[in-house]
Amino acid sequence: MSDTAATLTQDRQKLEMAALSAPAVIFTVAMIAFPVVYTIWLGFQTFSSTGKQSFAGLANYSKLVSDIEFWHGLWITIALFVLSLTLQLVFGIWLALVLFHARRLPGIVRSLFISPFMMPPVVAGMMWLVILDPSLGAANYILQSFGLPPSDWLASPSLVIPTVALIDSWQWTPYVALIVLGGLQSLPPSVYEAAQIDGASPFKTFQRITLPLLLPTIVTAAILRSVDLLRFFDIIYITTQGGPGNASNTLNIYGFRVGFEFFNIGYASALMLTLTAIVFGAVLAFNRLRSAVAW
């Protein structure tokens, strides 16, 4: 008797729980899952200039394989990803160590440190556009006052990607640093004490003890940044729109322009599905790496 009553309450509870997650699940299916299925379908369609739609089979994908702009975009995306991630991890770890050894961090200092990545990337783009202006910008003035030659920065086809990487790293290095700092603070102090007793130098301690223990945290930071870096959009779109020429035409920028400037929705869908596969592939690879370095 009490058994049936218990099952009854349990069933009721399950139902109530399902009802609580239902709005979020239904919303996500309606806004994401269904549209993604629609995108997959769109990837098999072509749209004529009059907006007429017809089945195209794999035409969009075979176009993609032979599209020089796609391979260029892929190369730009990977170059920007590797350059930015390297900068942000190296300087992020350095900054985390500096913050860790600072006695204490007043709230105001912390607020200032997080300010770059709390402001809109679009604002970061606007501000750096002015600072990096080739003829009147403050950056070139600083270079010249040190006797260095001025640079064209975002206006230079060969420098635009390193410059964008620099802007993004200015924004997100403090974020990586705060994650790594969290990892540092959760390490057991006994580890350092043992190393100190053994007379290990600070550098050796870092290389042999701190860094290996920090690796899982560092990989976590790398995953979080990779997702954003592989679909890089805001700063480029606001500063160069993929230019000069096509020098900063990342896959996401290219796909957006194909879709909303040239209105080739079918081909844009194929491009975006390919980019999504790349992002998820990278996340899976990093996740494997994280389990490999876990302790």
Binding site: L20, F27, M31, V36, V98, V122
Partner: protein, 275 residues
Amino acid sequence: MNDAANTDRWIRWLNTLQLVLAGVLIMAPTVWMVLSSFKPSFEVTAYPPTLIFSPTLENYVELTRTTPFLSYALNSLVVTVGSTALGLLFGIPAAFAVSWTRISWPAILTLAARMAPGTLFLLPWYVMFRQIGMIGSYTALILSHAVITLPIVIWVLLPSFDAIPRSVFEAAQVDGCSVTRILWRIAMPLVASGIAVSAILAFVFSWNYFLFALVLSNGDTKTLIAAAFNFIGEGSTQWGALMAAATLIALPPLVLAALVQRWLVSGLTLGAVKG
């Protein structure tokens, strides 16, 4: 012993030096933006750049005179508040259910959706919203931005709900409380600060989001971020107004983030790191 103390002091000095260097690198561009926004128009483009000038509000006046800045700001506010409210409405019960049942796929579903490039959804949204005549509507913008806010709310709140001892709920259950009542009367007051942090983070990221409004808004519903191009167009000759716009756009997220800076890291890593 004296040597060790000396080395110690040197190391501390070196560390402080690096801290100051990092602080300058982080702060200088923002300070430059704010300073430029208060410079008289002839001085903004002065070369060599000037650090000392008599501050003026002319750029801000110019900005509100030549662009519909205030109506853009109002649009941003409507979209951001609307999407944050929707994220909380759907996200709080979902986070509670995931925490209670340990059935995590609803939370993972929303996060996976957040990891894909936004253009992936924007293409079908554009086709669908156009068919039903919703391009340029607040509804379309709020719905699209709720895709940003929902996973933030769920993942920031999960650890908060997890931290409540189960016995609290079990006692309430024995008293005959329904699950919904437990959430409303017991769990939500206990995670009130977590809800505040998630709401602020959701607000910040919705406010900052660029891509969706770029396509889904029209002249009447354009958000500040999507209107940034208008300011840049103007800024080709008027850096002062451009920097005034940039300063004003960045102000709300920066002020809000300063309020919750202590809880930001664990919130921003979606629970991956305990800050």
